[in-house]
Symmetry: D2
Subunit: 508 residues, 4 copies
Amino acid sequence: MGIIAPPSLPKPFAATALVRGGGWRGRSVRVASIKAGASWEEEKPREECGVVGIYGDPEASRLCYLALHALQHRGQEGAGMVTVHNNVLQSITGVGLVSDVFSESKLDQLPGSLAIGHVRYSTAGQSMLKNVQPFVAGYRFGSVGVAHNGNLVNYRTLRSELEESGSIFNTTSDTEVVLHLIATSKHRPFILRIVDACEKIQGAYSIVFLTEDKLVAVRDPFGFRPLVMGRRSNGAVVFASETCALDLIEATYDREVFPGEVIVVDKNGLQSLCLMTHPQPKQCIFEHIYFALPNSVVFGRSVYDSRRQFGEILATESPVDCDVVIAVPDSGVVAALGYAAKAGVPFQQGLIRSHYVGRTFIEPSQKIRDFGVKLKLSPVRAVLEGKRVVVVDDSIVRGTTSSKIVRLLKEAGAKEVHMRIASPPIIGSCYYGVDTPSSEELISNRMSVEEIRDFIGSDSLAFLPFDSLKGCWGMTLPISAMPVSLGITLWNPGSLRSRGLGTLSTMD
Amino acid sequence: MGIIAPPSLPKPFAATALVRGGGWRGRSVRVASIKAGASWEEEKPREECGVVGIYGDPEASRLCYLALHALQHRGQEGAGMVTVHNNVLQSITGVGLVSDVFSESKLDQLPGSLAIGHVRYSTAGQSMLKNVQPFVAGYRFGSVGVAHNGNLVNYRTLRSELEESGSIFNTTSDTEVVLHLIATSKHRPFILRIVDACEKIQGAYSIVFLTEDKLVAVRDPFGFRPLVMGRRSNGAVVFASETCALDLIEATYDREVFPGEVIVVDKNGLQSLCLMTHPQPKQCIFEHIYFALPNSVVFGRSVYDSRRQFGEILATESPVDCDVVIAVPDSGVVAALGYAAKAGVPFQQGLIRSHYVGRTFIEPSQKIRDFGVKLKLSPVRAVLEGKRVVVVDDSIVRGTTSSKIVRLLKEAGAKEVHMRIASPPIIGSCYYGVDTPSSEELISNRMSVEEIRDFIGSDSLAFLPFDSLKGCWGMTLPISAMPVSLGITLWNPGSLRSRGLGTLSTMD
Amino acid sequence: MGIIAPPSLPKPFAATALVRGGGWRGRSVRVASIKAGASWEEEKPREECGVVGIYGDPEASRLCYLALHALQHRGQEGAGMVTVHNNVLQSITGVGLVSDVFSESKLDQLPGSLAIGHVRYSTAGQSMLKNVQPFVAGYRFGSVGVAHNGNLVNYRTLRSELEESGSIFNTTSDTEVVLHLIATSKHRPFILRIVDACEKIQGAYSIVFLTEDKLVAVRDPFGFRPLVMGRRSNGAVVFASETCALDLIEATYDREVFPGEVIVVDKNGLQSLCLMTHPQPKQCIFEHIYFALPNSVVFGRSVYDSRRQFGEILATESPVDCDVVIAVPDSGVVAALGYAAKAGVPFQQGLIRSHYVGRTFIEPSQKIRDFGVKLKLSPVRAVLEGKRVVVVDDSIVRGTTSSKIVRLLKEAGAKEVHMRIASPPIIGSCYYGVDTPSSEELISNRMSVEEIRDFIGSDSLAFLPFDSLKGCWGMTLPISAMPVSLGITLWNPGSLRSRGLGTLSTMD
Amino acid sequence: MGIIAPPSLPKPFAATALVRGGGWRGRSVRVASIKAGASWEEEKPREECGVVGIYGDPEASRLCYLALHALQHRGQEGAGMVTVHNNVLQSITGVGLVSDVFSESKLDQLPGSLAIGHVRYSTAGQSMLKNVQPFVAGYRFGSVGVAHNGNLVNYRTLRSELEESGSIFNTTSDTEVVLHLIATSKHRPFILRIVDACEKIQGAYSIVFLTEDKLVAVRDPFGFRPLVMGRRSNGAVVFASETCALDLIEATYDREVFPGEVIVVDKNGLQSLCLMTHPQPKQCIFEHIYFALPNSVVFGRSVYDSRRQFGEILATESPVDCDVVIAVPDSGVVAALGYAAKAGVPFQQGLIRSHYVGRTFIEPSQKIRDFGVKLKLSPVRAVLEGKRVVVVDDSIVRGTTSSKIVRLLKEAGAKEVHMRIASPPIIGSCYYGVDTPSSEELISNRMSVEEIRDFIGSDSLAFLPFDSLKGCWGMTLPISAMPVSLGITLWNPGSLRSRGLGTLSTMD
């Protein structure tokens, strides 16, 4: 689930951006899945999941568990894993963090050298446990497990069609239709069933599948969501949403799974085929703005570099006289460092983030002002007192958190507070998005920049200009430039089906 | 799931009985689902579940919870409930006892006036949580919940057929095929979908279904498993596996759901139709021997009366000189009272059952002899010392528990121990059964009565003669005798379909 | 804690009995610790604890755990154990059942061949965890653990005296003063410290102590609470509140710890000394009426025999024309069997007890009549309908439960209900008792037998006559008859102290 | 418990510093309580606790809970709170984080306007639950609760003396002797009992006490551990280990509790008396180096300023040609910013800290190199590749973590790694310390700086020079400079006792 755009619309840049005509709303981005909530960070755009797949390691479940831990920032509400042992798929899923869901004894129940895993951002109530992925289903020729990051825009249509022909649904997740499409495919080889399914679904999907003997990774033609591939020194193949997961389990980063690519890993090695090429991939810019870890390489580019550059642009385009540059931690830090360096002003830790803020906190009935923000962020008077402060944040959604932060800084003695935002204004939810708040809740949809500045109470406010963002990001990873260093032959699925799977060259 | 027989075989008596030719194995019964295990009682035949359905009470979930508690003896491993609120089905399921799975706050999450519930006997591991019923599925025209007691003998065939046409399966339970059959029915009215499904499934099934606006109860044509109907004073309709559930929630027992009957309860009242009549219902005799509570009325007959009569028959047919009659508690008590009364010998509590034996107990490495039995049963020396003791148990499966009990009694001073079993020898698992141990494990399958007596070390041994069992039980509840006191009109589903549902007369 | 009497009052019989002058209240007993509560059985007199001590078995903690399980009926609210390993006392305590508090891994944390354990009846809230015994304290010469069954009547006086000299208290338990008295004793040998402490405390106490190298068992001079001694075949010595604990761990019952006796077990063997003899032991009759298991031998007499005799007396002294005799399970069963046998009327299971009633149950807002009783007890219509029923219970406290049971039986069809109580009327809490309800709550304190009969709605009512109880019980175990079969030399502690411990003869 | 020094030794600087003669070990500090452990951060010096006290707020428990949360970095292993309601002390303690131990319903069990609380760094096993503070005890004149940060050096002597006179001990904590000393004091007024106790204990103690009507804060004469006082706008008085706790609950910082001061808060207002002045307070420098949060003011000085200055000194005294300055997060960040600013080299986030590392993580059997460090710290290749890197950490204990970090950085592409440590070498545990590892484990005790550099594999290594530390820190808060703005009259306890408490002037 996540940020998506219609596959048919030719768009100049990222899938999440809608270029409008002139005026203050003209340069802004759309984002899906902003979760309402009182506390700090819940107002941020939310990434919905991280996926992992491992083939060929005798400790697949332990490595998968660590890789999921490395992707924990992409989803803290639920986690799960499926492995294969003696030709049977074993599954454990649960609500909570990876370290809550899995224990030594649980991992011992998941032997085998194949595994897929998933972390999920939102699971409401115990009865929603069944929405925690990976899902597993039995079908005509065996069992299949699936873990999905993304959002299918034609889910309701597909579900209706499937229900009309008698399918029953156990979850409210769009991922379940993929299983049904695989099961109802007229083809026998698993890979052709995958191709059949992918030709029907539209939207954002980075998916890993597991069968009794295969690991399959698929990415939608636009490449909305990231998915990378690496190898361990013992030859095991690893797929993951971000490179940080490869790093932790000592897998070397090979390359992205390309937009529109299907990679099958089994005893014959790796096979790749190209589902559908698209001249303009639409990778979600919010991965670089907010979702991914700065030590990850996403869409072939360092997240750290992106954020630093965003900060530098802000310093160049929206300079202000100031004494100190601070960040709203953690995701604003790298942009703030870029700003400070470019502006030649010292960066300081003006806000300290607590490591111990959990799900809920009990507030006294005599309300503490800006309680939610204060639990997480503490201003440092020694840095702020009497200073003109530039504070860099990654985005503004509803604006309420920003106004609390400005107040916090001023109460701690800041003489001036200049807010700099390392993303363009967010003016609407993604066109095909599902889990988004109404556009009315987005402050950039209702107010001009000056009105927002007034609302949050800062002395100045500037967003990352959309054109600069576009310029700095550039056109990454055109499909024609896909490396073939792994000896992968690209296939057109049409020809594949006409010739049959047996003619696929294999390698490794 | 449970004890079943082929619907096509004309059988003289109950579904679980196989009459063999002459010899010592000739008069015996088959039983399904005997669970292996070291501890006492795990050797007993196991009942697989209890079901509840409630229509029209504003506190449906609380009543369902209490009714499930009353049926707790039918399954202690998992429990679940589905209710309807604002046209949406809500479900909570969990591993453990009813009182573990549900709390005040959980029940508050289940508002509405319709509910179905289920208690389950066996759920292995957390990953098996998804096998805990009721199951809920979405299909073309809405959602349906299902709770099932019984065992479908053509499950594998049906599953294969469904998978061939593209269905996917989320559990390993036979109950899931019923949902698929409902979803793939060509008919629109829910009741006709039910009829379609029931015409395809074979075996034992007492099922309650829930939709957004209907409660449906179904019993297979042989009536293997019990299912009763009652009403509360506010008009709410209650279905339950045993009458003890009605008693606790102050519902008056109306009658059994008849073999082959479908009862639909909705805003139009009750509608009954007859799926398929069968001249010889095959109600499972083990309900009266072991499964049901003695205060229940099962198959229209008091369980207490049955057990007392079994004991009286044993006293008549297998008398022995003795000083005291004792029972293996709890299920042997009533038969022992019958034996004692008939024999004119005092009944005493020679074995005390512990109330605190839970799932696992830790044994010292210096093994305690007959540890598992001793944890549960304590002999009373004051009753046994120097006495000739008749001990009445309900059944013998593997024989190992019986031998431990005989040893326990002799060590506590019993001069003679005469074992009387209130059921015929169990010589095989049910012909169509699934979850049964191999026949080789059944001691009556391998040994003559005298050999068993020698094995368990008792001074004499006698089983309930099969013919006497048959005689005392009689032919209960012929389909032609079905009362129509509720104003229910019986329908033939064929005519129903030709005429459409709209013509169904309604009542209440 | 428990039922106690002033040591100075010469009383004709048991400590709990107060003989009044003529009139309907003249023959009755006092009882301590009747817990208020809505549900069935909570109205019963409550036993407060069970204690265990084990010396000389390499698996002391596992055996102690099993022995505590056998005593679980004496206290379900908390459990704990202390063992000695490498001269250090290790302790684990917790809220809940023995099987909840201890697991395999917890027992592995309790190595060593010495152990004491405790089960406790009442622990309110988490903060009361510290009131769960055994208590452990460090003092001048090492550490000591203590587990106590009974009730000290001069606790407040002793605590005040200790506090005046600077002692601090960590619990609200009377047991803690014993630790302080041991610590403040002027003597060096542990046994003399014990003697010092016991000379100061008054009331009911059956205590086991543990030090780095000793196990000590003590019983107060009146012998209010039971305490028995046994041996395992490997020579290990076991103390326990009831013989049922010895039975489970295959220890042979030797004898009671005598009233006023201190038994020390260490590497020198067993040493016994006599604290203080008393011509009239005052053993609590409620152990035989209600607290102990029928398979236990308590105060040297079979509990089963006592209860059967109580029933026979009732049948003789309060006969009535009836068709069936039933019991309120479980503690009324043996008396009911005695009644039925003497009266020549069949005993039947007219009330079935549920095995699954836990701590709390959620009741619908549309109240179910007699909800608490119905959850636990189900009437059997097949036994009761149209019958004149004698129902035997062990006691009547407030009378509300009895009235519910009578109503339950009549609603199930009983034509007449005759209540027979296997104890005298309870007219007051024990003179020195502490945790007792006010006398006003005791129905026998407020009403005559006829008034009670009218209140509970039975057709007749009779209690066990006090004089018959006295007669049947007799004078058990006069101190002069103490066996010396173990080669134990009895000591007068005065001479002991004058001669010093070194001169104690040892054995085994 | 913590870092301590003999009160009798005149020392030039902080209690934890031992100045040696010439040579490489001559300028270094001693530190207590370094916990062994495989994972990152466990090698760091550990602060043992944080304390909170609140008087006069109707929501004392909720505020105490939030203040403990703000101090969570001082102890994550256990938390507890005591409040007063209706003259009774209520206590809840538990193992884990503040948010684990307390819930809405738990806090509801702690009504009242007085509270003290504690967070604790180490509690081994469930049986150690009783070592979680605050402790509560009953004594002659009531109850007292105590929460203690520090370490008493004469604990064993005091415990022996107390045991000799009959005291028993329930914990292994030095804090318990304080309760005994209060209980055994010959004085009646609580404040004189406190004075009596404090005159006997030696070592480090910042303590808050609670009685039925008083809150008392005490700090040892050397002021080893911090303790501050503040007020809420409603007049409630708050004590806490660090000012960050005041900030969260909107209490204004008044001042430190002075070394040797006792402050009593009750219905008469605040009373202060001076236990014992000392010319040279010995505040623990590790509060500024490592323990406290940078947004706190500790010993009257901003922690942030201290750390930044430490970094600046390092840049001045140990410069090196480099391209980037990075920190080992979190405690090295501020010093790294100081270093970078002084050196004129950009600061970057070269190491990212994970927010999700909990207690234990499961490692594959095919070991991952530097597993523990990698779970917590991820290098950013975009920052490091090809660069000459200065990395600033707060301290080196065993040196193993430092060597892993150097390796991590080099593997991520760093051309050179220059380690700068913002504290002097730690060469021994504090002279009077208790819970410290052997000196042999401290790498600075065994090796010269060059040998350490070689061991950790860095290209250069420098520590904060001891004399510079001394210079920058200065002499803070001489006792003669204590403000009297609150109208507090300072008392000499000797004169207090001679005159009696009644003559104390009160205020507010």
